[in-house]
């Protein structure tokens, strides 16, 4: 556990170095948030209610999505694990007396903690200034949103870990990222809130793990009854199930992958 804590702290501290990049990232998130939010406002001006969403809900989700984008890294950057599989450096990782999954999870949680404080909070604050966002009045719902965000990071980490683990078989995970980096954000609800999709498609996307990365946290924040079971707890349970299932799959696949590994010397 001490090792993991040390890796977590280093992951967190490492990202504090790139201050200019953090500011630039916030700027980009805000620009995209403003563009998408304006499109949503124009759409809802034409049709005030669509599948249970109104203008306030949609604009809030747009900014939540932009705020979470860096935290859950759904559009990248990929875990460095993939590059290490390609270069063979993963051999060093496998020599360590801690599990591969635990090591990278600790590192990624450090990154996510930094992003939550210094990317998500400022981005959402800018959204609050520019647009009429809907805020939960109930402090419990704020707490639920925080839990939901942590679960979103776990689900997203597990998915990104699996993408990179595929590199053990494919030798190059960039092809997977080329597809997952495009379709993941769409299925997560960052391109458009999922309720705007055709209902049949939305129902399918809603139960897939990607929805747990942005759509479910947004609905928890908004207190929507479209969550599984109609309650916030149902949403959190769905996320927890995906996190547990995908992390177990990751742990199992790690065992299979390391049995395949052939490291060429040099």
């Amino acid at each position: 556990m001490r090792v993991h804590r040390a890796v977590y702290v280093r992951g967190l501290r490492r990202h504090t170095t790139y201050r200019a990049a953090t500011l630039a990232g916030i700027l980009t998130n805000c620009v995209f948030g403003a563009i998408n939010a304006t499109v949503m406002l124009a759409l809802f001006a034409a049709r005030p209610h669509i599948n249970g969403y109104d203008a306030g809900d949609a604009v809030t989700q747009v900014f939540l999505g932009q705020a979470l984008l860096a935290v859950v890294a759904v559009m990248g950057p990929p875990l460095e694990l993939g590059e290490r599989v390609r270069s063979g450096d993963v051999a060093t990782d496998l020599l360590r007396p801690v599990s591969l999954l635990g090591w990278w999870l600790a590192e990624d949680l450090g990154r996510a903690t930094f992003s939550l404080a210094f990317r998500a909070v400022p981005t959402f604050a800018v959204g609050l200034v520019l647009f009429d966002l809907v805020l939960p009045g109930d402090p419990l719902r704020w707490a639920a949103t925080l839990v939901s965000t942590v679960l979103a990071v776990l689900v997203s980490f597990a998915l990104r870990y699996l993408y990179e683990l595929a590199g053990f078989w494919l030798l190059d995970s960039r092809g997977i990222w080329a597809v997952a980096g495009l379709l993941g954000p769409v299925a997560a609800g960052t391109l458009l809130p999922l309720p705007l999709f055709p209902p049949a498609l939305a129902e399918v996307l809603r139960v897939l793990p990607w929805a747990s990365i942005v759509q479910i946290p947004a609905e928890v924040f908004l207190g929507k009854d479209s969550l599984p079971g109609g309650t916030v707890l149902g949403g959190l349970a769905l996320q927890a199930c995906w996190a547990a299932a995908l992390l177990s799959l990751g742990a199992w696949a790690t065992g299979r992958a390391t049995r395949r590994v052939v490291v060429q010397g040099g």
Partner: protein, 274 residues
């Protein structure tokens, strides 16, 4: 020597040669190239589906119907796709400065901008241009357009102008990296952000944004003014209708401004020395 007499074409020849070399290199892995191209196309389909969904719910936005919205989105995808393919790699400037490879480019007898643009030239970006043009074609059939000879002739001019403006935006965005390290993501807000902005009829964003995109960063001439011209609409934000005819001129001016930025940036470049 033909190219000694027409020195203007030498950078073009160098560009084609270097880009061709990268294409040949990537063609060694045909399966990978095809899959990456299809993945790029998926991105266009996702964006276009979003536009379709928005127009499907709204019916009309700022007087634009679904087919007309599709025309705007198709123009945006094509113009940005072409600019991305021709000059998109300039966004790696910061990386070249950091690692010192820009210094290597400066001593070679080929303009550094050409080398920068062709470094890791990516033919997979055709996956953006081809669906973009197909969408334009479909939208042009669906829209009710009064096809005068002028409109037919202007269509390629508008596409070239849009590409030129987007390319200029890419170069200006890259030039920021001469002065601010880590500006790459900030540049994304005008390059990819610009694409997101031009994907919808610009009037959606309100008068101030339309004015800024007309007079400051001329993104209005990528899709908005061309669409107004093709559909023969008055400008709903009250700007003069004559502006749409300025599109080619704006393209030329943007390219000159981008070239000036590039020269200014290059003159103030100081090697990291690593």
């Amino acid at each position: 020597m033909a190219d000694a007499r027409v020195p203007v074409f030498r950078p073009v020849r160098a560009y084609l040669l270097l880009a061709g070399t990268w294409c040949r290199a990537l063609a060694q892995y045909p399966a990978s190239l095809v899959m990456m191209t299809l993945a790029t196309s998926l991105g266009v389909f996702a964006e276009i589906s979003a536009v379709l969904i928005v127009f499907g719910h709204a019916g009309r936005l700022e007087g634009f119907s679904l087919a007309e919205g599709l025309l705007v989105a198709g123009l945006a995808a094509t113009a940005f796709g072409c600019a991305d393919m021709l000059l998109g790699n300039v966004e790696n400037l910061g990386e070249h400065i950091r690692s010192g490879t820009l210094d290597v480019m400066l001593v070679r007898p080929v303009p550094p901008l050409v080398q920068l643009a062709t470094d890791r030239f990516a033919p997979r970006r055709l996956g953006r241009i081809v669906p973009g043009t197909v969408i334009i074609a479909v939208a042009l059939v669906l829209c009710d357009i009064d096809w005068t000879p002028g409109r037919v002739l202007m269509l390629p001019v508008l596409l070239v102008s849009g590409t030129a403006i987007c390319s200029a935006v890419w170069v200006v965005g890259a030039c920021l990296q001469f002065f601010v390290t880590g500006a790459r993501e900030a540049a994304n807000s005008i390059t990819y952000g610009g694409q997101a902005l031009t994907e919808y009829p610009l009037a959606v964003f309100g008068r101030d944004v339309v004015r800024a995109a007309t007079f400051v960063l001329p993104l209005a001439f990528v899709t908005w003014q061309p669409a107004l011209y093709l559909l023969d609409r008055p400008d709903p934000t009250g700007l003069p209708d004559g502006l749409r005819f300025a599109t080619p001129l704006v393209a030329v001016v943007s390219c000159l401004a981008a070239a000036a930025c590039w020269r200014f940036g290059l003159r103030h470049y100081r090697s990291t020395g690593s």
